[in-house]
């Protein structure tokens, strides 16, 4: 009877209003059999972290196209650590220059997906890298 279902949150931090990508990813996760919590646009780091904890998700995918990724994404990682919730895996995607990726990974993002990545690849990455809670 007992069976873990993977719970994923798709978050849109910051001020850009482009959520087509986030919605497509959310749909791909749904089709992969995950439960997907979508936060909607314009979320603060605090809102995203609080929501992820209340929903007990296994991972959070952050979609960002505003260019503010070097500020917002490390801030979110830091808040997860502050709340002792850094067991939740964080990954990101969006228009992010290659040069910024090492810094983001050092800040706590496990992976960063750039334009052109297929949804299949992202779903596969989640399946390979995010174990559902024990």
């Amino acid at each position: 009877m007992a069976e873990r279902k993977l719970r994923v949150m798709v978050g849109k931090p910051g001020l850009d209003g482009h959520d087509r990508g986030a919605k497509i990813i959310a749909r791909a996760f749904r089709d992969a059999g995950f439960e997907v919590i979508y936060t909607g646009l314009h979320q603060t780091p605090e809102q995203i972290v609080a929501a992820a904890i209340q929903e007990d998700v296994d991972c959070v995918g952050l979609s960002i196209l505003s260019g503010a990724h070097n500020t917002l994404l490390p801030r979110i990682c830091e808040l997860f650590r502050e709340k002792q919730a850094d067991d939740i895996i964080i990954f990101g995607g969006g228009v992010i220059p290659d040069d910024d990726i090492p810094g983001l990974k050092a800040a706590g993002l496990k992976e960063v997906f750039t334009p052109g990545t297929s949804t299949e690849d992202i779903v596969k990455w989640v399946k390979d890298n995010v174990p559902p809670r024990a």
Binding site: E3, D31, F34, V36, Y38, T39, Q47, A50, E55, Q84
Partner: protein
């Protein structure tokens, strides 16, 4: 017992750890730990047996929250309404727990839980806890886990718990036995007045809301609902449901709606109707747990010993009929099981 059958020290340690973890979750929840509450909700939803032990500890701490159900068709504005009701209760100094349910895909088992989009401004308010649940195949407008998740929020000390059902059609009425006050949200233009005299969700409301009341035919929808309520055979006895107009996205009509919830709450207590309501609710909850537990005990037994497959195969050739098979199994289990 041979050497190999003795449980290894590692295994024994694991058991102890699990037990300690079990004790810790419920106790931490009672001291206000958010993470533990979220974890327990997950264990409940995923059907972990350990969750039952936690719920045993929490049960004596439940029964204090005022539970409001919000139901209605998809797109009626339920989530936006929940968001505004939450804001209104926060202004009145009350803490609010929210359980929002969305459907699971029958094909992939996945779900998009999007109710939070309308309410996430409350996410970092420590006086609000929002949990999204997927139906996971359960019919009736709620998930199987909803009642237990509401109990966790109740034990956490939330003053008000709002349960938002999936977008329902006509017959998904589980919410009635979950909530103290059931709210049916309608919008203008969904159908003619014959829809309003059909049986089903229109019979269950303690409060009726016509949302998106800025639309042209809102008054007609209000009239139709009011006419339907006037024809109720119990008219004049007990609580008289009203039809209220709201525009949730503009925060119009919300204070009046919350006042109406509070009037209903007062009515339940003053009239003694709460006693009957809780009796029904408790009986239903007990029967559900009993049904689920009995089924899982019996089913896991016949699945493991191969009877289940035998019976299904026997039905294929018509050598076995399902009625006798069930009678045999029930008789056997009643004899052997204690």
């Amino acid at each position: 017992m041979g050497e190999g059958q003795r449980p290894s020290p590692g295994l024994r340690k694991q058991c102890c750890l699990r037990e300690r973890r079990t004790m810790a979750l419920a106790e931490k929840i009672l001291t206000g730990d958010i993470r533990s509450a979220a974890r327990l909700m997950r264990d409940i939803d995923d059907g972990f047996r350990s969750a039952v032990d936690e719920l045993k500890i929490l049960y004596p701490h439940t029964g204090k929250a005022f539970i409001i159900g919000i139901t209605g068709p998809p797109g009626a504005g339920k989530s936006t309404l929940v968001d505004q009701i939450t804001a209104a209760y926060r202004r009145r100094g009350k803490t609010v727990g929210i359980v929002a349910i969305d459907p699971t895909s029958p094909f992939t088992g996945g779900a998009i839980l999007g109710d939070r989009i309308r309410m996430n401004r409350h996410a970092d308010d420590p006086g609000v806890f929002i949990r999204s649940l997927a139906t996971r195949g359960h019919l009736g407008g709620l998930s199987r886990s909803t009642g237990d998740v509401v109990n966790v929020l109740d034990a956490m000390g939330m003053d008000v718990v709002i349960v938002e059902t999936v977008g329902v059609g006509q017959d998904e009425i589980d919410i009635v036995s979950m909530a103290h006050t059931t709210t049916v949200v309608m919008v203008p233009g969904l159908g003619d007045d014959i829809q309003a005299i059909k049986a089903g969700i229109l019979e269950i409301g303690d409060v009726f809301v016509v949302n998106k009341a800025d639309r042209a035919d809102a008054d007609r929808t209000v009239r139709e609902l009011a006419t339907m309520l006037e024809m109720n055979p119990d008219r004049g006895k007990g609580w008289q449901p009203k039809v209220l107009k709201t525009e949730a996205s503009r925060n119009r009509g919300i204070e009046e709606l919350v006042d109406e919830f509070e009037s209903h709450r007062v009515y339940l207590h003053d009239s003694g109707a709460i006693h009957h309501l809780l009796e029904e609710k408790n009986a239903k909850q007990f029967l559900e747990i009993l049904r689920e537990r009995l089924f899982s005990e019996v089913f896991s037994h016949i699945e493991v010993n191969g009877r289940f497959r035998e019976i299904v195969a026997g039905m294929m050739t018509r050598e076995k009929d399902p009625y006798s098979a069930v009678e045999e199994i029930v008789a056997e289990r009643l004899r052997t099981g204690s």
